[in-house]
Symmetry: C2
């Protein structure tokens, strides 16, 4: 029976029902999902609860409730589940087309959004096809840092191996690109550019669709529609900004990401990973030459080639940020991530360096590490090769001075962040290199540029000795991805092998890489803040791990008094809302 | 001029000199190294200082000073540098033969003592040649856990790669076997069993001598002499035992090591690494079958074959310890350390399991880890494969009951130690398996055996949450090798690449794997003790990392109130002396 029929058939009951509705909605001050029955003309209310709703509907209801004077703005902000916003920020499958589609497989929804396109098997193909105006989905066993450019060129990424925290998943979330990972059902034959799934053989150019929210994979093309940021969304965000104490920055390495993040409300860059800049066209060759150099002079010569490119990258970032702060992290990954793997590239490098292929291969072999995550990386690179830190300092300082020249009203004050510090003496050594280089650049240019040197807190020992490190650092930024790895003693690349058993045994209730472990990692963070501020009350402190975009973790960051959280561009609205809710709950 | 001449030529000055000698030696209460001159019959004393001495001489002087009433026993114990004892505990080159020998190369003295013998290139050859009564020196690029048996069969070990904390170095020190590591001058050709060094080509069977104290390598045979533990050594050790508060245990996996350690004064086993037991003849095959099993039943079947062997290993250990405590650590390394690498072994395994070589290789590949140190190991194995922990529990409990039957007067109370705990829930899950299995065994045998379940503290998070873990653990044992790795965020296998630069930049003054980092790692240890004892005052606490045999670290362990240190058998006397000195200094 429709509600209109009820009014005619049981007018008394209907009148009573509308009264009860209004009492209940006034009482709960939210849209109600009610069950009732009418027997012998008498109304019986059976149950009532707050109505479930889509993200879009939730925003509309919250705004309506404010407009109707039922809720304050503060209450409206507190009503929205920040997790739900995720779906509003990515393309979705066209609802009608989706209804008639049958999934052929299901894997992990590793990065939300929907994507459709032609299958390619390599990052290079993805770039080439994109350049030809084609839409592609990159399908790989797993991805590596060399694939970044190809991942950017793809509508979506599908991997055979890897969990929610695999390289593909993490990078895709960072880019806001749809990703389905860990599809073990795929029988992959990368060498011959084909795979079998659900009994069908797929080749390069075949069409496929994937849903990074549900993890579902579909044969053929399901058209996608871009999500719109409707009026209510903007209103709620504006209200959220009125209440939050935490600043929200973004993790962005490119002007494109930075602009997107600014549109979504980011108030600065909390983490610019410079290594991604080394993989670009023209740079990777020079960087490989540096790696295979025999002397400081040779290394400096190779780095000299990268300097202008890196400088113009930074200039573009400063332009995109329009005076908002930019934290630039110096080179972090181990050098073996940059060496060539295919024969042609090795030969090319050998020719450039005047070495034999054998010699280049020996250098590559010598870079092998047993535990790369705990190897020769981060500030350890700057200690052994200070010339890298020098080049990066020059690039940052020159870029900042140039952009400031064009925009004297922008408050540009570079924040140089040294990764993987575990001992104050490491920071002293690297900071000395940075300061000497920066001061010389500034003096030579007759500039009055100010800059800050700070550090990541991502090694347990850095947190434990923050009373020493705090004396030398202008700021701390918690790298909670690494800090979680070291504190738990497991690598996120390998944890997939046992985490399932940990959930089954109820040892873990959530993935510590997705939701901050407040008991352990959080304890180290609190220690670091207390010890650091104890010796340096001006220390500003943020977080730039993936946790910076997780609502529960943002709440914790607010509670322990961080100054800002920094997250992927597409999580900025989530962090803004979560920060507002944290501040409201703490009033 | 000889001193006897002086007496005749300058009798006055000589008389005065002997008086001054006695004044100075009484004043400094130590043997003096004095400089003086006699001019115009007048004595001028120029300088005096405590005389330098060999370890043997130091012991003799200290005993003499006590016998002469110049020093108390306590003072005598405090006079000896524990580091010096190391040379007394290993074979040395015959002094005369050494004089005429010329070193052909110099590398790192990674494990003290001298060795000579015929060159072999594989662990298997070392075992085979040893069985034929030959003395061999194992020369390899680097060693791996598979080489353990061959290392045991060798007089000494020489590696091309690796530093003071490489696998070869650490294991050799543990065994008390001489090792020279990191000899980059060797041009190695392992495949053809030859290498070139100092212009000479060496083949299998050629003779070589190495000195693990100096790192020197010699062509040909220099005979060695066994060090003797002379009377003074024993006296000083006995005095040391009167003063120390810390107990000294040993890290030992075999009855041979355990007996050696008991001779050197160990009061129990602080760490028995059971994984070494899986590499032995007959076990490794069964263990590989377990790894390649498809079901719990198959795994249990394979483990059933290992059970009696592991039980008899434990029985031999309990026999060797004669009622002193034995802490048995359950399986720790990742499974890929156990899989076969050569084709014949893979074929054999495939045949046994009724699988194809391809399938076995796929299983082996699937065990690959990006960061094995932070991978699927320790208690994570027990969570995913509880049947391993069950088998090990049965073996321990049955062994203990059997030995106790023969020696009712021995206080046998197994200490089962769960490695790599990072969260109390992990310990609860694994402990439940252990307790259920142990209690069933004990009940079935009608025994009244008591046992304890404790945990390693080697993951930073375990220290940070020791107030939770302490409620479930009967004891804590600090695994400071891993704890140092995780706290600093670097792996000791890889740190060699940058530690040199760290020493040069004065960031580090000592190797944190050799000398405990009191500022960082030590802070975690103190937290763990405070938090753990806060919830469980009966908790007994020890250390079983390599630091347990380092004098400075032993002093720290005494200061923070540990109950015992555990170290390699050959470091037990050093730890006893260091523990005594720590107690004396703290009086």
């Amino acid at each position: 029976m429709k509600i209109a029929e009820m009014e005619q058939k049981f007018p008394e009951a209907f009148k009573q029902f509308t009264e009860v509705c209004s009492i209940l909605e006034n009482h709960y001050r939210d849209m109600q999902d009610m069950e009732f029955t009418v027997e012998h003309g008498k109304l019986y209310m059976l149950q009532t609860r707050n109505g479930k709703r889509t993200a879009q509907a939730a925003l509309k209801i919250a705004c309506d409730l404010v407009d109707e004077g039922m809720r304050t703005k503060e209450e409206a902000v507190a009503m929205i589940d920040p997790r739900n916003l995720d779906t509003l920020l990515h393309p979705q499958f066209d609802a009608t087309a989706l209804k008639s589609a049958q999934p052929i497989a299901q894997a992990l929804g590793a990065s939300p959004g929907a994507a459709c396109g032609q299958i390619v098997f390599t990052a290079d193909d993805a770039k080439a096809w994109k350049a030809q105006g084609k839409k592609v989905v990159l399908v790989r066993l797993e991805t590596s840092p060399e694939d970044i450019e190809g991942m950017k060129a793809s509508q979506g990424i599908l991997t055979v191996r890897g969990g929610m925290t695999s390289h593909a998943a993490v990078v895709a979330r960072g880019m806001g690109t749809c990703c389905v990972s860990g599809c073990g059902d795929i029988a992959m034959d990368e060498a011959n550019k084909k795979f079998t799934l659900a009994g069908k053989e797929y080749h390069e150019g075949d069409e496929i669709s994937i849903d990074g929210s549900t993890g579902k994979i579909y044969d053929g093309i399901i058209p996608t529609v871009d999500a719109t940021i409707a009026g209510e969304f903007g209103r709620i965000m504006a209200w959220a900004d009125e209440f939050r104490r935490l600043k929200v920055r973004t993790n962005a390495d490119t002007p494109r990401d930075a602009k997107k993040a600014r549109e979504l409300g980011a108030e600065g860059i909390g983490l610019c990973r410079t290594e991604h800049m080394f993989f670009g066209e023209g740079r990777i060759d020079a960087f490989r030459e540096m790696i295979c150099s025999d002397s400081v002079e040779e290394r400096e010569e190779a780095l000299e080639k990268i300097l202008p490119m890196q400088q113009s990258d930074f200039e573009a970032l400063y332009e995109a940020l329009e005076g908002y702060p930019v934290t630039i992290r110096f080179l972090d990954p181990p050098l073996h991530e940059f060496v060539p793997t295919d024969e042609a590239d090795i030969k090319k490098l050998a020719d450039t360096k005047g070495k034999t292929v054998e010699e280049i291969k020996n250098i590559i072999d010598s870079l092998h590490e047993f535990n790369p995550m705990m190897g020769h990386r981060g500030c350890r690179l700057a200690v052994t090769y200070p010339e890298i830190a020098k080049m990066q300092t020059k690039a940052v300082i020159r870029a900042a001075m140039n952009v400031k020249k064009n925009h004297p009203d922008w408050a540009i004050e570079p924040e140089i962040m040294i990764p993987l510090i575990g001992d104050v003496k490491e920071l002293k050594v690297v900071k000395a290199v940075v300061v000497e280089t920066a001061d010389a650049e500034i003096a030579a240019a007759g500039s009055d540029l100010k800059y800050e040197v700070g550090t990541m807190i991502e090694i347990p020992r850095a947190a434990l000795t923050a009373d020493e490190i705090g004396k030398e650092a202008a700021f701390f930024c918690f790298g909670t991805n690494d800090l979680t790895q070291m504190t738990f003693g497991f690598s996120r690349d390998d944890a997939g092998k046992f985490l399932e058993a940990y959930y089954e045994s109820k040892i873990f209730e959530s993935d510590p890489f997705a939701r901050l472990d407040q008991n352990g990692v959080g304890k180290l963070m609190k220690m670091a803040i207390d010890l650091g501020k104890g010796v340096n009350p001006n220390l500003h402190i943020g977080i730039c791990g993936e946790h910076g975009g997780d609502p529960t973790s943002v709440d914790f960051c607010d509670a322990i008094g961080l100054d800002y959280v920094s997250c992927s561009p597409f999580r900025v609205p989530i962090a803004r809302l979560a920060a507002a809710q944290a501040a409201i709950s703490r009033k």
